[in-house]
C-alpha cells in the first residue's frame, strides 16, 4: 500500500491534443479517490498514466515516494479493473484470478490459497471452473476484481467499472466495492462520469474538466462549496439551479422575487452587476410544509408550476423562467460542458412528499437564502465560497483555463470524442 502523488502532470498526444493539463493530486495511503468529469475530461487518461499504460509528457508521478514515470506497468505493482473487464476468455475463472500470481512464479500451493481466499471474498467459489464467456455481467465484474485483489498491489485502479452493468446491479456492486476497499484499506483511484458514484464512494473527489483540475475535495465540500459554476452544475442530482441575480446590499433580486442573504455572503458580491445565483433544488420547499417561523415574505415567492414529478418521498416541480441574454449564453455553454442539452431555462424545485402542489398551481415556494451561492458570469467563479471548507482549489481560474484548453483541443480534433471516456 502506498500514497500516490501526481505533481503537475501533463499529457499531450502526438498530434498535439492536450488531454491532461498541469494536474496535481495527492492520494493519501488508504484513501479512496474519485476522478470525475464529463466524457473527454482526461480522467481515464490520468488513470492510465498512473498505471503506466500512457506515457507522461511532463510532471512527476510518485507512488510510495518513488518516481515511477519511466517504469513499465508491471514494475509499478498496481492492479486495475478495466471498464470492459478484460478477462482472459481462454482461461477459467480460477486461472484468470491466478494469472498475476502465475506471472510472479508463485508456488502452486500459494496460488491456490490466495485464489481461494479471493474467490471466497467475492463469492465466486461455485464459478471457479467456468469460462468468463458463461458468466453474467456482475460475475465477470467480480472476477475482474478478484484478479485485482489476489496480489498485494500498492493500489487499486478502477476505470468506470460499473458502467456496463444495469442500474440495480450497479447499486449493489457500488456498495460491494466500498465495503471491499474499507476492509482491505488499500489506496484506490476510481474513475467515473457518474456523480452519484463519485459522491457515495469517494473519501475525496477530484473534478476535472477538459484535462484541468477544477476542485479536489470531499463530497460534502463539493456539494456545499463548489469552486465554480462547472463543479456546482456537475455535482448533485437534479443539478443546481442557475438564475440571473442582481445584488443590492444584502438583497438578491431573482426572476421570481427578492430574497435576503446573509451579510458576509452579500459583501463578497458587491458591485459586480449581473450575477448567476446557484440554488440547489432541495434548498427550496413548499411554503406550506415549512415551519411557520421560517416563512417570511423575504424568503418566499409565488410562481406557476409547469410540471410536477411525484416520487413518494419527494416531488420535483419545474418552473420555467426567462433568462436575460447576458447569462443565457453562459448557461447554454455550461449545459454543453456537462454533456447535457438545455431546452429551456427552468427552475427545478425539490418538494417534500407531503406537498400538495399540483401542475398549473400558483405555488408559494420558500427558499433557504442562507445556502444561495453567487457566481461571476464572466469567470464562473463562486464569489460566496467558504474557502476553509472547499478542499483544494487550484490557483488561477480553473474554469477559464479549461475553456482555453478546450479551444486548443477543438483545433486538434474538432468536436473531439475521445476513445477512452
Amino acid at each position: 500500500m502506498a500514497a500516490i502523488e501526481m505533481k503537475n502532470i501533463v499529457k499531450q498526444y502526438g498530434d498535439g491534443f492536450p488531454a491532461v493539463n498541469d494536474v496535481s493530486i495527492d492520494v493519501e495511503d488508504g484513501e479512496f479517490l474519485i476522478l470525475v468529469g464529463p466524457s473527454g475530461c482526461g480522467k481515464s487518461t490520468l488513470l492510465r498514466m498512473i498505471v503506466g499504460l500512457e506515457d507522461i509528457t511532463d510532471g512527476d508521478m510518485m507512488i510510495g515516494g518513488k518516481k515511477v514515470n519511466d517504469l513499465a506497468p508491471r514494475d509499478r505493482n498496481l492492479s486495475m479493473v478495466f471498464q470492459n473487464y478484460a478477462l482472459y476468455p481462454h482461461l477459467t475463472v480460477y486461472e484468470n484470478i491466478a494469472f498475476p500470481l502465475r506471472l510472479a512464479n508463485k508456488s502452486d500451493s500459494e496460488v491456490d490459497e490466495k485464489v481461494r481466499e479471493a474467490s471466497k471474498t467475492l463469492e465466486l467459489d461455485e464459478h471457479l471452473e467456468r469460462k468468463p464467456g458463461n458468466l453474467s455481467g456482475g460475475q465477470r465484474q467480480r472476477v475482474a476484481m478478484g484478479r485485482a485483489i489476489v496480489r498485494d498491489a500498492e493500489a487499486f485502479l478502477f476505470d468506470e467499472p460499473l458502467s456496463n452493468l444495469d442500474a440495480k446491479l450497479r447499486g449493489q456492486m457500488r456498495t460491494e466495492i466500498s465495503r471491499l476497499q474499507k476492509r482491505l484499506g488499500i489506496t484506490t483511484v476510481y474513475v467515473t462520469h457518474d456523480q452519484t458514484e463519485a459522491m457515495t464512494l469517494g473519501d475525496r473527489v477530484a473534478v476535472l474538466k477538459r484535462g484541468v483540475l477544477q476542485q479536489h475535495a470531499t463530497p460534502r465540500e463539493l456539494y456545499e462549496n463548489p469552486a465554480n459554476l462547472f463543479v456546482a452544475g456537475f455535482i448533485g442530482s437534479p443539478p443546481m439551479n442557475f438564475l440571473p441575480a442582481k445584488v443590492d446590499g444584502n438583497r438578491v433580486e431573482l426572476p421570481f422575487g427578492t430574497v435576503t442573504i446573509p451579510e458576509e455572503r452579500a459583501a463578497k458580491a458587491q458591485g459586480k452587476g449581473l450575477l448567476i445565483a446557484g440554488i440547489r433544488p432541495d434548498h427550496f420547499e413548499d411554503a406550506s410544509v415549512v415551519d411557520a417561523d421560517k416563512v417570511t415574505d423575504e424568503a418566499t415567492f409565488k410562481a406557476t408550476v409547469d410540471v410536477v414529478e411525484w416520487l413518494g418521498n419527494e416531488a420535483y416541480a419545474y418552473i420555467p423562467f426567462e433568462a436575460p441574454d447576458e447569462v443565457r449564453e453562459q448557461l447554454t455553454q455550461l449545459e454543453k460542458d456537462l454533456d447535457g442539452e438545455s431546452l429551456r431555462t427552468q427552475l427545478v424545485v425539490s418538494l417534500d412528499g407531503a406537498s400538495r402542489i399540483a401542475e398549473g398551481d400558483e405555488a408559494t415556494i420558500w427558499v433557504d437564502a442562507r445556502k444561495i451561492h453567487l457566481f461571476d458570469p464572466a469567470t464562473g467563479e463562486n464569489l460566496t465560497i467558504d474557502s476553509d471548507n472547499a478542499g483544494i482549489i487550484p490557483g488561477g481560474n480553473a474554469m477559464a483555463k479549461a475553456e482555453e484548453v478546450g479551444h486548443a483541443q477543438d483545433e486538434v480534433k474538432p468536436a473531439s470524442d475521445q476513445a477512452t471516456t
Binding site: 506497468p73 508491471r74 470492459n84 478484460a86 482472459y88 476468455p89 494469472f99 464467456g133 458468466l135 484478479r147
Partner: protein, 280 residues
C-alpha cells in the same frame, strides 16, 4: 401449414445437399474404386464403376516403391517445415501490423498482397537460375523458401485480421498483472488468436502439399521431389497406357493426410473463442 412448408424446405435442402455431395464426391469415389482394380482390368478399358475383383496389389506395390515412399517423406518434411516457419513469421508480422504504427505499414501490406497475386509459373525460370547458382536446386530449402514466400501473405492477412479483433485491453490487463510484452503476447494474444493460427497453418500446409509447378521444376531426383511431382513420373512401360490404377492409389494415399489434418484441426478452430472477454 407452417410445418408443411418447413417440411418441404427440409426435403429441398436434402435433395440439393445430396446433389452437391454427389457432384463433389463422385470423382473421389471413382478414384478409390480405381485404386482397387487390377492392372489388367484398367488396361482393358473397362467402364464399370466397382472393381470386378477388388485387390490390394496396387497399395502393396506403391508402398514397396522406394521412390514413392521417399517422395512422401519429402512432401511431409517440406510442407511441415514451410508451414511451421510461415506461421511463426506470419504471427509476428501480423501482430506488428495489427498493433504498431510504423512507416511503410501500408506498403508492407500491399506488397504482401501483390506477392500473393503473382503467378507462380512466372517465377520458375528465375528461381531455377538462382537456385542452381546458390546450390539450393534439388534441396528441401529450395522448395521451403518459395512455399513460404507464397503462403506468408495470405497468412499475414488472415492473422492480422484476427489480432485486430482482440481488444487492446487484454494485453494491457496482462501488462498491469505483471507480464512483459512477450509474456502478454504468448500467454494471452496467441491463445486467443489460435483459430487464426490454425487457419493460416492449414492454408499453408495445403498449398505446400499440393504444389506441383515448383516441385517439378526445382527438383531433379527423389532426394527432394514431392509426391505431386513424383506422380508425374509414374508412366509405366507403355507411354500410351499409363498405370491408372497405380496413379489412383497414389492419389488416395496423398489425400489421406489432408483429410486427417482437416478433421484434427477442425476441432481446434472454435469460433467465438473471444466471446465473454469483454462485454459483447
Amino acid at each position: 401449414m407452417a410445418g408443411n412448408t418447413s417440411g418441404k424446405t427440409a426435403v429441398g435442402t436434402w435433395i440439393g445437399f445430396a446433389l452437391i455431395m454427389l457432384w463433389c464426391l463422385f470423382p473421389v469415389a471413382w478414384i478409390i474404386s480405381l485404386s482397387f482394380k487390377s492392372e489388367g482390368e484398367t488396361a482393358a478399358g473397362s467402364a464399370q464403376f466397382l472393381p470386378k475383383e477388388p485387390t490390394f496389389d496396387n497399395y502393396k506395390a506403391i508402398i514397396d516403391n522406394p521412390d514413392f515412399t521417399r517422395a512422401l517423406i519429402n512432401s511431409f518434411g517440406i510442407s511441415l517445415i514451410a508451414t511451421l516457419l510461415s506461421v511463426i513469421f506470419a504471427t509476428l508480422a501480423a501482430y506488428a501490423i495489427a498493433r504498431l504504427e510504423f512507416k511503410g505499414k501500408r506498403l508492407v501490406l500491399s506488397l504482401a498482397l501483390a506477392i500473393a497475386m503473382f503467378p507462380v509459373v512466372a517465377l520458375v525460370g528465375p528461381l531455377f537460375d538462382m537456385w542452381t547458382t546458390f546450390g539450393l536446386f534439388n534441396t528441401w530449402p529450395g522448395l521451403v523458401i518459395p512455399y513460404m514466400s507464397f503462403t506468408l501473405p495470405l497468412a499475414i492477412w488472415t492473422l492480422s485480421a484476427f489480432f485486430r479483433e482482440i481488444p487492446w485491453e487484454m494485453e494491457q490487463a496482462a501488462q498491469v498483472d505483471g507480464a512483459t510484452s512477450w509474456q502478454a503476447f504468448r500467454k494471452v494474444i496467441v491463445p486467443l488468436a489460435a483459430p487464426g493460427v490454425f487457419t493460416a497453418a492449414i492454408l499453408t500446409f495445403f498449398f505446400a502439399w499440393n504444389e506441383f509447378v515448383l516441385a517439378i521444376s526445382l527438383t531433379s531426383t527423389t532426394s527432394s521431389r514431392t509426391v505431386p511431382a513424383q506422380m508425374s513420373f509414374f508412366v509405366g512401360p507403355d507411354p500410351f497406357n499409363p498405370p491408372y490404377a497405380q496413379l489412383a492409389t497414389a492419389s488416395v494415399i496423398v489425400t489421406l493426410p489432408v483429410i486427417v489434418i482437416v478433421l484434427l484441426f477442425q476441432r481446434k478452430i472454435v469460433a467465438g473463442l473471444t466471446s465473454g472477454a469483454v462485454k459483447g
